[in-house]
Symmetry: C2
Subunit: 361 residues, 2 copies
């Protein structure tokens, strides 16, 4: 009935609990022979470490986190997820230090921060990459020093990390396409707006969308880059609806849906063209209600942050192996459930202590 403890193992083998503890947590200072005996007995007795007792007694875990200070709408959500985990785990003897880099295009800042994390003997590190990313060597330095690294938000081309947590972009594109097919007429065309064709997750969304949308129809699709600039998105929308008289829908796979909606309104096209948007912003509510935006693909960045630090914690404390990549599944939002998701995002009381995980299972 009662679970076996290290005390039970120690008694069984007539040794001290300290030795058992050291062996089981893979520390040095135990002979191989002893270690094997202990592991064998632990397995035999069905021993599982008690995490509660463990976190009460071990010394504090130090996590370093680095992210851009720009784009708070996005990176702020990742941070919110991390903070949420941290506050839930406040009793678990874990502490985190944020460092913010000011440029999206420079990697020297990242390198400096990473160095300081090494000097501070952080137990683990989370990196939210910006655009340019040629510091994979430095990630390898961390991993050589046995400091595990989790990449969060979007992946890096290389570097030795334990996992990368990001959205399932391809599925996002597919879902958008599946809905789009229901909404647009048979002979209408469709446009896709993304930020940048060179970014892998943007490309994945497009590929997902095209694969699904064109699967059993002859849907004609054009792809446009907004550079994640609202003004570009506005002008582009105007141009697209002028150039394509039979356009029926736009999939805005990036954050500029508000400008797109405005442009549609200003040109009296809201009845003709439907929008599938990405993620939730306060300003979207109005367009969702009006039916200009017919659906949203929500890629829960808060959840991404939560999962990232949870994975790191589990790796550090339980030596839990990580999948090479953790993809967060996008959620489908339409008019009627917009409110619940929206209030979920803004709810302050959701910071109250929470116990049991929503790791993607």
């Amino acid at each position: 009935m009662k679970r076996a403890t290290i005390k039970d193992i120690a008694k069984e083998l007539n040794i001290s609990v300290g030795t058992v503890s050291k062996a089981l947590s893979e520390k040095n200072g135990v002979s191989n022979e002893m270690r094997e005996k202990i592991n064998y007995t632990a397995k035999k007795m069905g021993y599982h470490v008690n995490r509660v007792a463990q976190s009460l007694s071990r010394k504090q875990l130090k996590i370093g986190i680095v992210m851009p200070s720009l784009w708070p709408e996005y990176y702020g959500c990742l941070k919110k997820g991390i903070d949420k985990f941290l506050s839930n785990m406040a009793d678990y003897n874990i502490t985190a230090q944020y460092r913010f880099v000011s440029s999206l295009y420079s990697s020297t800042e990242y390198i400096d921060v990473l160095d300081s994390f090494i000097q501070q003997k952080m137990n683990g590190v989370i990196i939210c990459p910006a655009f340019i990313s040629d510091y994979s060597d430095h990630i390898n330095v961390l991993s050589e020093k046995n400091i595990p690294v989790v990449i969060l938000g979007s992946d890096l081309p290389s570097g030795n990390r334990i996992t990368c947590v990001r959205e399932d972009s391809c599925l996002a594109g597919k879902l958008a396409a599946e809905i789009m097919k229901w909404i647009v007429g048979e002979n209408e065309t469709v446009a896709v707006f993304i930020g940048n064709k060179d970014m892998s997750d943007h490309r994945e969304k497009v590929n997902g969308f095209l694969g699904e949308f064109c699967s059993n129809t002859a849907g004609i699709v054009n792809i446009y880059e907004t550079q994640d600039d609202p003004e570009v998105a506005y002008i582009l929308t105007k141009k697209v609806i002028k150039d394509n008289p039979v356009i029926g829908g736009i999939y805005v796979a990036t954050g500029n849906s508000i400008s797109v909606c405005k442009a549609l309104e200003d040109n009296n096209c809201v009845d003709r063209v439907s929008i599938i948007a990405t993620d939730i912003f306060p300003e979207l509510a109005e367009y969702v209600k009006k039916g200009v935006i017919r659906g949203l693909i929500f890629q829960d960045p808060v959840k991404q942050g939560k999962i990232a630090i949870e994975s790191l914690y589990r790796y550090l404390v339980f030596r839990d192996p990580c999948d090479n990549e953790i993809l967060i599944r996008p959620q489908l939002i339409i008019r009627n459930n917009f409110d619940v998701y929206y209030s979920m995002m803004n709810d302050e009381h959701d910071t109250k202590g929470i116990l049991c995980s929503e790791s993607e299972d």
Copy 2:
């Protein structure tokens, strides 16, 4: 920097930690004067109890759970959610006892179980109601003995419970209707299948659906009872498609979607009639792929179970207040994301320890 502990409070007031502990956990045996001084000082020092230390030292929490043994597809999911929480919280010194009642229509079995829970001095109780429910007096007996009760799955008409965790049926109906409007043609009619018109959550789904579907169209809708019987659902479908030559969709708000799909196939109507189904079953996969089922409203019963026991635990240990009712928001599933949800449900490795909650926030 370091958080205040009861030791700090005791030192500050020159008293023993035992007294501080007793006062803070609202136990007897502390003078009012002392209690107030301690509470004041605790607040002043920003004290928060360390839940980790607490659960290591307190005696084991005993939870009693009673549910029907019938309908394992449904109640089994609620149980799975509870079990998931329990396994995540295995180190938290908490134990549960399940009791199963064999009839959906008798309340004497419930009363017997509840009595035995009282005798066993359970710290808290979870009740999953069946159909007949005239044991609210007994729920009040529990609450008089300071045994908190959580109702799970569907609510009871009365009785003093701390909360009830169930699906948001009205929203489920609304979502089904919003999608249905996209799918069916302007002049087509629609049918709704529910289990029983007398059950409040079934009625709520219908009301949600009607309110949304008829809002800005002249959609004609007929409501049918399947009695949750696959054969009835099959016959009914046959009848409905015969009687309504222009029917375009059926919202199956109950668990019989497989029979409905079969009936459509057997009568060569899959191209004419689209289904919006409820919840995920293995047998649905085929019909989702084929496009017979165009959308599913998933009301995560596993999550309901998880949230129910989490709420009870939090109430017991932290005295966290509960909302009178906790409604789980339904998720929208279409062809492209069916697989992720399906695998999520069946995944065994998701029972591995998990830390941080998905309580509805």
